[in-house]
């Protein structure tokens, strides 16, 4: 009789390998989000838009933090959607100690909290700082770099929806080329945001040689949780960049939030990787590669690329080039089945379950 080959054993649960929970997976391999005891760090009643990716990303990350720290975590928040929709007086959605100070100073506030905890000998309490792409890559950049450089014991999480959504969708340094925002309208000979601008915060973070840097997407939950959990095993400055689609700002249906978060990964425009002490140590191979069009089309912010009869092929090709570059840089098309953990989606050597 033919025995199962290794490949089959790895994918032992075909029906739900990548689902949130599923009853056949070993308990410790199930995601935090699958648990009936998850903390719901951001509880119901918040005022996020329908299908808000940031609300999801934040809960995913913070619930994981709450689990690994045993609920001993303090969060601080930059000004932005997350802050506004979770804490409009007289109601807050947060279920852990949380502080909002300013738009640009969150990493420094976190540094202060960490310092106070250190001096008070509360080693078990951990500090998380969070902000949107504006608060992280633009106005908070200086403080963030300082926090990295001092290697303060803080996990900084950036929820990247690629523009200033809270103020009405203006361009940030995380806005991708050709994207329409209120300040990069689809006009003129280069409609939308221009090419050759913007920055990669994860790579900049790596340049600080901090212990841990990772990217994650709300579509790949197991990967996201694994990375947050891994980040919490380190002391010192850590950075996780989470991709969170914004139905309002991107002009997409509220129900395809996660689908877009998935497509951006599968088309390689947003590579999932992690780096330790400045060196890339792992990346998630693309499972089902798709052309960038598939990701761009459903979003109104890219609608001008797909005008009836006038599809902007050259610029789409340029975006495809960016994706291809990522594939090359992070080796995203490799087949390493034997080292591939069907449960976590992580390569086994990085997996928390080995």
């Amino acid at each position: 009789m033919n025995k199962l080959d290794n490949k089959q054993r790895v994918k032992f649960y075909q029906k739900g390998t990548f689902t949130v929970g599923n009853r056949l997976v070993d308990k410790k391999a199930r995601s935090v989000q699958a648990s009936m005891e998850r903390s719901n760090a951001i509880t119901s009643g918040h005022r996020a838009c329908q299908g808000c990716g940031e609300a999801l990303g934040a809960r995913y990350a913070m619930d994981t933090v709450m689990r690994v720290t045993n609920g001993k975590a303090i969060a601080c928040n930059a000004t932005g959607c997350l802050e506004v929709f979770t804490t409009p007086y007289p109601e807050t959605s947060w279920q852990l100690p949380w502080i909002h100070s300013l738009f640009g100073n969150t990493p420094a506030v976190a540094t202060g909290i960490a310092a106070a905890l250190r001096v008070k000998g509360k080693k078990d309490v951990r500090v998380i700082a969070q902000g949107g792409d504006g608060g992280t890559t633009d106005i908070g950049f200086g403080c963030l770099s300082g926090m990295f450089e001092r290697n303060d014991d803080v996990l900084y999480i950036c929820y990247d929806n690629e523009a200033y959504m809270n103020t009405g969708v203006q361009r940030s340094s995380a806005t991708p080329p050709t994207a329409r925002t209120a300040t990069t309208m689809p006009l003129g000979d280069a409609p939308g945001n221009v090419f050759g601008t913007g920055k990669s915060m994860p790579l900049i973070a790596m340049a600080h040689n901090i212990p841990y840097v990772a990217t994650a997407s709300v579509s790949n939950l197991h990967d996201l949780e694994t990375k947050v959990e891994k980040a919490m095993t380190y002391r010192g400055a850590r950075y996780i960049h989470i991709y969170v689609p914004c139905p309002l700002g991107w002009g997409h249906a509220s129900d395809i939030t996660i689908q877009l978060a998935r497509l951006v990964v599968d088309c390689a425009l947003f590579p999932l990787f992690e780096a330790e002490h400045g060196v890339v140590t792992g990346s998630i191979p693309i499972r089902k590669r798709v052309p960038v069009e598939e990701y761009l089309r459903p979003q109104r912010r890219f609608a001008h690329l797909f005008k009836k009869g006038a599809i902007d092929t050259p610029r789409i090709a340029k975006i495809q080039k960016m994706a291809d570059a990522n594939i090359k840089r992070f080796n995203l098309l490799r087949k390493e089945v034997e080292a591939f953990d069907g449960v976590t989606g992580l390569s086994l050597k990085d997996s928390k379950y080995t």
């Binding site: 303090i74 804490t87 100070s101 100073n105 420094a108 976190a110 310092a115 008070k120």
Partner: protein, 417 residues
């Protein structure tokens, strides 16, 4: 114990005696010697249980302070001038969140033109940011005020700025009594925060407050500062009880009883004025000095009471509300409404211009004869300004004022040839 010591160093020692748990700062003249001093005390282990953090900017400095204070740590920082402006957003935030941070301002002018010397423009720019502002007259007082500041801040859960004149105090060597740790501990209890970020007792700090409650929040802040008007003298009294000397309080009154002319001022220049006053009193002039220690909250009633029986009040201040006149004077005038006492404004010492006894005496003479302009700029180089004004009238584009004046002073100006 008395020491002959630099002002900054004396302050640093008293900060250490107050057992701060987090100190963070970004260097800017003339504040540098204070944080250097603190850093040394932490590194050397003289100040235990304290985190000293070198931050990337003043904005970062006060932000770190906000975080640590909100986590229940006694927190100190210091800055000056441009630095204070750079952290302005956080200055408002710290008071808005009610965090009892203590911050030293080594008072310095604000550019352009860039100028590292002393005046009060920096502190005045933040006068309405919701912080308490205490101005030190001497280095002894600067040292003492910091010890009191922590107590006041923590009693009210409000941040306090201790303002001391840059260089004039920070860099001056004086005889200062540095108290013992025992006395300071007796005077200043451990920090019992009003709110703290703690997983055992979680809540959200810094909510977004809309029109429905914002006014109330602000009113309560104002009400708190009114309460401070009682608490500041109380604590000054407690201080005297423990350390046996007058320090702090709302105002310091010098020979006011029979004074017909009273000079109102802030900070170290009061000492210079007192010498002038003594000399003029020898000549029979009835002059006194009132120096304001607590500028925020502003002690309206106390000041009014102290001044209402005088003939004239001269507010001599190191700040200028461009387009209006005196900043302090404005506050004093408000307090004097309806008393009929005439309030003159004398703007002096901007950007470190020495305020000399001869000029002060000359000015006071003029005032005595009621010949003083309502707004006087002490020792203003009329000639230079006039020439620049003439040039401006002549042509729109005359180059940057600062450079023209420098050229004048250097005598390079064509007009002189």
């Amino acid at each position: 114990m008395f020491e002959q010591i630099e002002g900054s160093n004396a302050v640093a020692k008293c900060i250490a005696l107050s057992r701060p748990e987090v100190i963070c700062a970004y260097p800017i003249s003339p504040q540098t010697h204070i944080v250097e001093g603190c850093g040394k005390l932490v590194k050397s282990g003289k100040l235990k249980n304290c985190e000293f953090i070198n931050v990337e900017s003043e904005f970062g400095a006060l932000s770190v302070a906000i975080g640590s204070s909100a986590t229940g740590a006694r927190t100190y920082t210091a800055t000056a001038s441009q630095g204070l402006l750079f952290m302005a957003e956080a200055v408002y935030n710290a008071s808005g969140l009610g965090l009892p941070i203590v911050m030293t301002i080594g008072n310095r002018a604000i550019g352009a033109p860039i100028n590292i010397w002393n005046d009060h423009t920096d502190s005045m720019s933040m006068r309405d940011a919701g912080w308490l502002q205490l101005f030190a007259e001497t280095n002894q007082e600067a040292a003492d005020l910091h010890i009191q500041a922590f107590k006041i801040a923590e009693r009210l859960s409000m941040p306090v700025m201790v303002c001391m004149d840059g260089f004039i105090l920070t860099h001056a060597y004086d005889r200062v009594d540095i108290p013992s740790q025992e006395k300071v501990d007796a005077f200043l209890p451990p920090f019992k925060p009003r709110q703290i970020l703690d997983p055992a007792n979680p809540y959200s700090i810094g909510a977004m407050v809309g029109p429905e409650a914002f006014l109330e929040v602000r009113y309560l802040a104002h009400e708190k500062q009114q309460r401070a008007l009682k608490i500041i003298p109380e604590i000054a009294k407690e201080f005297k009880g423990v350390f046996g000397r007058d320090s702090g309080g709302l105002t310091r009154n010098y020979k006011l009883e029979d004074a017909e002319t009273i000079v109102v001022t802030l900070g170290s220049v009061a000492g210079t004025i007192k010498d002038v006053v003594d000399r003029m009193r020898e000549k029979g002039k009835k002059i006194g000095v009132l120096s304001i220690c607590s500028f925020r909250p502003f002690p309206k009633l106390e000041i009014r009471k102290a001044l209402e029986n005088s003939k004239r009040v001269i507010v001599l201040e190191k700040s200028l509300a461009v387009g209006f006149g005196g900043v302090v004077a404005n506050n004093v005038m408000m307090s004097m409404q309806g008393t009929g006492v005439h309030v003159y404004t004398v703007v002096a010492g901007l950007g470190g211009r020495p305020i000399t006894q001869p000029s002060l005496e000359k000015m006071l003479q003029v005032a005595e004869n009621d010949k003083l302009d309502d707004l006087t700029f002490l020792d203003l180089e009329r000639e230079v300004v006039e020439r620049e004004l003439k040039r401006e009238r002549a042509s729109e584009k005359s180059g940057p004022i600062a450079e023209n004046i420098l050229r004048d002073i250097a005598g390079l100006d064509e007009a002189k040839r």
